[in-house]
Assembly symmetry: C2
Homo-oligomer: 266 residues x 2
DNA sequence: ACCTGAACACCGTTCAAGT
DNA sequence: ACCTGAACACCGTTCAAGT
């Protein structure tokens, strides 16, 4: 935590993206390119985070992976948080957003249905959170002003404007969709991570958890309710259940947007 | 992270709540009560987490606060994670849920409107996440089967059943509401925490961030869009903006539930 | 039954020094 | 310009020992 003394000494860190200016980027001199640069460091960081999780990642572990001493990385990056911010924005680049200047007229028919576009963006974000479970805590921690996160926000805003919602409802609607996806993807990612850490499939883990809970006092009726809901959902695997819930909830939110458009329309 | 070797040695930790049985609880012998017990340890843990944040909390720091050596706590708790699970469930007890056996008939008029009940639960959960920003990462990490979290889930299920949704849509609707609240409260809590760490009010922090971003290339138009949306929202403080967005989004999701009820009704 | 002290294997980061 | 080594002030947890 930040204590008063720390605060007096230096301004609180805001973001890597608000740094002095372009950082040394390898291959500076005439010789062969240096083995290290921000891109390579970021790339290996993402790989390690995927493999070991946020808690398992350390500067020393990273340095070892780069065949370099622990402190070398600090030449390219001021703090571990800077590095995590870089990794975070890097994976936002995986999202594959639609070309942004194409179709400048939001009302044209060829612009495509906002519902489909919203579904694509939401699914992409969900997949990102599930593929990289360390993304979720970082999204909560940092300012998210890297180029790729900004491109994502920009795209989200553009699509939400197409709904026909009044301006005062835009940010609320964005929250309803993407904070839902954030929460959903976070929990789904953690659950997959947990079963992987236990060395079993999600389905096996689910069965184990269920039978472990069977014995616990006061939980039996909750379990019964859950099983009832699971039966009704009809999914045969855990993954299928997540899939059905996600799409039902997304349809629900989209219907909510349509209702708000009608309500505030006239 | 868990490596293969660790896995072979012992079964993966699941939850404090699935432990052998009741733990030593102070005042065991005839003399004056021991200074330590799980309740007191949990209480101090919550206080420290509130004050220092999840990153600032440590077993050694906790022991110091309890005027005890670092290892004493391990008599009452197996791991730090156990302790965090206890703290997590403890704050879920702050939610003040409606009495659960009252009004057993879900169709009776006096049961109250599910919309109001949903709003109460959602607001309570949001406040919890904002008041204790360390709750959010823990909700994502653990199984959430402590008595108070279970009571919360149970209440949520009961209210959602009153909407009239078909059974196969219940879990999706729960996700649409409470994963949204989870995401929203997480981000809101972090933003308040960030400004507090920087020693300024949320409004001051917001101004600072805005002017810092003014210089950054490629962000100007995003800023302009954001300012436009803020104008339209009409909130005068950051807190007011969060408030408006939250309630707009919640209304939106509730409208979505109503739409799904109608759609699947006949 | 409860608590301690020393130790192990880690952290992020600073700082002076090397090439 | 880039990298190293030693050091500082921390971690969670184990283990043998005390009372």
């Amino acid at each position: 935590m930040v204590r008063a003394a720390d605060r007096a000494e230096r301004p609180a860190r805001t973001s890597v993206w608000l740094e002095g200016k372009a950082r040394r980027s390898g291959a500076a001199r005439g010789g062969q390119p240096s083995s290290l640069d921000r891109d390579r460091i970021t790339e290996v960081t993402v790989r390690l985070l995927d493999a070991e999780g946020l808690a398992g990642f350390s500067m020393r572990r990273l340095a070892a992976e780069l065949n370099v001493t622990a402190m070398s990385v600090y030449w390219y990056v001021d703090t571990k948080d800077d590095l995590l911010e870089l990794a975070l924005d890097a994976v936002f680049g995986e999202l594959g957003l639609p070309d942004q200047d194409q179709d400048p007229d939001p009302k044209s028919e060829s612009a495509g249905d906002w519902r489909d576009q919203l579904r694509t963006l939401a699914s992409g974000y969900r997949d990102l959170l599930v593929r990289h479970p360390w993304v979720s805590p970082l999204v909560g921690t940092f300012l998210n002003i890297g180029p790729n996160s900004v491109a994502f926000s920009r795209t989200v805003q553009r699509v939400i404007r197409r709904t026909g919602l009044p301006t005062h409802g835009l940010s609320g609607a964005i929250a309803a969709v993407f904070q839902f996806v954030y929460g959903f993807g976070t929990i789904e990612g953690h659950s997959i991570q947990r079963s992987a850490a236990a060395g079993v499939t999600p389905d096996e883990y689910f069965q184990q958890a269920m039978s472990a809970l069977k014995g616990a006092p006061g939980l039996d009726d909750v379990l019964q309710d859950s099983e009832e809901m699971m039966q009704a959902r009809g999914g045969r695997t855990v993954e299928e259940m997540y899939e059905r819930d996600f799409h039902f909830a997304l349809d629900l939110v989209i219907s909510g947007i349509e209702a708000m458009v009608l309500r505030e329309g006239q």
